[in-house]
């Protein structure tokens, strides 16, 4: 009688549903794995030998890192604002930050595309201000991709940092002040070190979301800004090669998994360190 016998019934009720969902989650994965291996490692070789993958992979890492860096900087400032402001301002700020999260990705991107196009609002403003006479190419380049992606990724960067800040005991901050720390010293010696776990977690999360991004590069970017997720779509739509697409998807999953695991640990460490 080691366990309490009165707990079991509820758990038994859960078992079939658990198995069903386990299947739902694992089944496509297993199916993809099987599809990708129909010719041994052949499909993997096919995918990795082309120059397309390396170009897409380089793009993915470069764009994701840039996006992450910008999102962290902006995110830190926004999180600090959320932390320090009164409840009314906080509600307003939260609405701002959540807005892109709730707006469907596509709606946002088309909005950006419409704004950044040659005869769009931004070019109109630039010409009206006399800063340029001919329209500037704002769309279909890396800048446009990164603006769109930062906009999308920002909420993911804000919240882990904000959580870390809320975990800081007001008394620790007051202690630092009473011991002689001014505003800048307080930031560098106490606030920044104590929020670093949140920054780490936010950075990894922003990177994951950026790297898994599909829609933005297609709408706002040029073909040279293709990222790895686009490549899956390319194999399916253009080459109608499901097996190669599956192999590619497995490779992406394998590459991103360690980062996800790291992020999970970072966000856990955050709670322990608070």
């Amino acid at each position: 009688m080691a366990a309490t016998p009165h707990r079991l019934p509820l758990l038994w009720l859960l078992l079939p549903a658990g198995l069903l969902y386990g299947g739902l989650a694992l089944y496509p994965l297993a199916g993809m794995l099987q599809m990708s291996l129909t010719e041994g490692w052949g499909h993997y070789a096919e995918v990795t030998q082309g120059r397309l993958l390396w170009r897409a992979a380089t793009n993915t890492v470069a764009i994701s890192l840039t996006t992450t860096a910008i999102a962290l900087l902006l995110g830190y400032v926004l999180a600090a604002g959320l932390w320090r402001c009164g409840p009314a301002t906080r509600a307003l700020l939260l609405a701002f930050i959540m807005l892109p999260f709730w707006t469907a990705v596509l709606v946002k991107n088309f909005a950006w595309a419409a704004l950044l196009q040659d005869n769009g609002v931004v070019n109109g403003l630039l010409q009206w201000a006399g800063l340029t006479t001919a329209p500037v190419t704002l769309l279909h380049n890396r800048l446009a991709v990164i603006i769109g992606m930062v906009h999308y990724v920002l909420p993911y960067a804000v919240f882990p940092i904000y959580t870390a800040m809320r975990g800081i005991d007001l008394r620790v901050e007051r202690a630092a002040r009473s011991l002689g720390a001014g505003t800048l010293a307080l930031f560098w010696t106490v606030l920044l070190p104590l929020t670093m776990p949140g920054v780490l977690s936010a950075g990894l999360l922003a990177f994951i979301v950026s790297a898994g991004f599909y829609v933005t590069p297609v709408v706002l970017g040029s073909p040279s800004d293709m990222m790895v997720s686009n490549l899956v779509s390319y194999y399916v739509h253009e080459l109608v090669d499901f097996n190669a697409a599956a192999a590619l998807a497995m490779l992406i999953l394998a590459a991103i998994t360690p980062v996800i695991v790291l992020q999970q640990f970072a966000s856990r460490g955050q709670h322990g360190g608070g």
Partner: protein
């Protein structure tokens, strides 16, 4: 190291939060080397007062003088107080030594000097062996000593302690109280202490300032405020007491004389500062349970309601003068306890009863 504690004088401090008056006209003078406690229930304004002295809250009116200099306009980092918070507020990302060296680092001392003085301070509180540890690896008592060392190492004008023992269980509390007193005796610092626990205040303080609803209602030594409370609030907050109501008959031999509802007379001390009621007016009297005595020829008749043995003393509840009176006695033995329903007579020495204001 001997820190020469300095005097801190607070004059007419006022603070509003919106329509709510948090602190009203609080004045006191912490003498060099003194241990002064602000004692009161939550919401009495004691912590707000301390935070205004520390600089975290700006007073609406009033002066805060350190050795005669007004510091009310300075931000907390420019005042020179060592503050110890509830929970200690150690920096979790720094070692014990780095914690203690922090105020020296903020004052721009060279690294070697920082380490030397922080090391010396850690030696004073008996934690040299823990210099390299992280705060979370220490026990509650050790953390308190680190917080005290950190607050003392830069030779502050005074220590401000905000319920440092608030969240601890009783045994640990008592041993940490003694440790704070021992460290104070060693370094001679002035201490302003905030607590809601009357036993803590009585056991540690040179003087106690009792606060209620934003006001300082009585200031005096532990014996003065306990034995000679001026208001019903002070009498009740500093320990259990019996309140008796009668009509005021006058003053005889410097003692107040009252007549109770049953016609019997009682005498009580008239503490300084308590207004003398008018003849025949209502008068309120406080007698503590340990000062109420079972006397074979006592002037008041009563009937025992219950008797509970509580270890250090036994507590009787006696029906007398039309109400339930608590009476505590150390003269108790398992065989000699009076049963419920026993008729008794009781009384008190005139100087053990206090006439109260209001």
């Amino acid at each position: 190291m001997t820190v020469s504690g300095r005097s801190v004088e607070v004059r007419g401090l006022h603070k509003n939060y919106g329509p709510h008056l948090a602190v009203r006209d609080v004045s006191f003078h912490l003498q060099p080397g003194e241990f002064l406690t602000l004692l009161g229930p939550s919401g009495s304004g004691k912590t707000t007062t301390l935070m205004m002295v520390a600089g975290f809250e700006a007073p609406d009116r009033g002066e805060i003088l350190v050795a005669g200099q007004d510091v009310a306009g300075l931000p907390p980092e420019r005042r020179n107080f060592g503050v110890v918070f509830q929970g200690y507020a150690l920096f979790p990302h720094m070692s014990v030594l780095e914690n203690v060296a922090f105020p020296l680092r903020m004052r721009g001392l060279p690294g070697a000097e920082q380490r030397r003085r922080a090391g010396e301070m850690l030696e004073k509180v008996g934690l040299s062996a823990f210099a390299g540890r992280q705060p979370r690896q220490l026990s509650g008592g050790q953390q308190q000593r680190v917080a005290l060392a950190r607050a003392l190492v830069f030779e502050p004008d005074a220590l401000l302690l905000d319920e440092p023992l608030g969240a601890l269980d009783r045994k640990l509390r008592e041993s940490l109280q003694q440790e704070i007193k021992a460290i104070q005796r060693r370094v001679g610092i002035s201490i302003l202490f905030v607590t809601h626990d009357q036993d803590e205040a009585m056991g540690m303080s040179d003087r106690i300032a009792v606060m209620a609803e934003g006001r300082l209602v009585q200031l005096g030594s532990p014996a003065e405020v306990y034995l000679h409370p001026r208001t019903p609030f002070v009498a009740g907050f500093l320990g259990e007491t019996n309140f008796l109501t009668g009509s005021f008959c006058g003053v005889a031999d410097g003692l107040a004389v009252l007549r109770f509802a049953d016609g019997s007379l009682g005498r009580a001390r008239l503490p300084d500062g308590v207004a003398v009621p008018e003849q025949g007016g209502k008068a309120l009297l406080s007698v503590r349970p340990e000062r109420l005595r079972l006397l074979p020829d006592g002037p008041v008749a009563g009937v025992v309601e219950s008797c509970t043995f509580l270890g250090r003393h036994a507590r009787y509840v006696v029906q007398a003068l039309g109400q339930s009176l608590a009476l505590s006695t150390t003269e108790w033995s398992p065989g000699a306890a009076l049963p419920a329903g026993a008729a008794v007579r009781l009384g008190w020495a005139a100087e053990d009863a206090q006439l109260l204001d209001g």
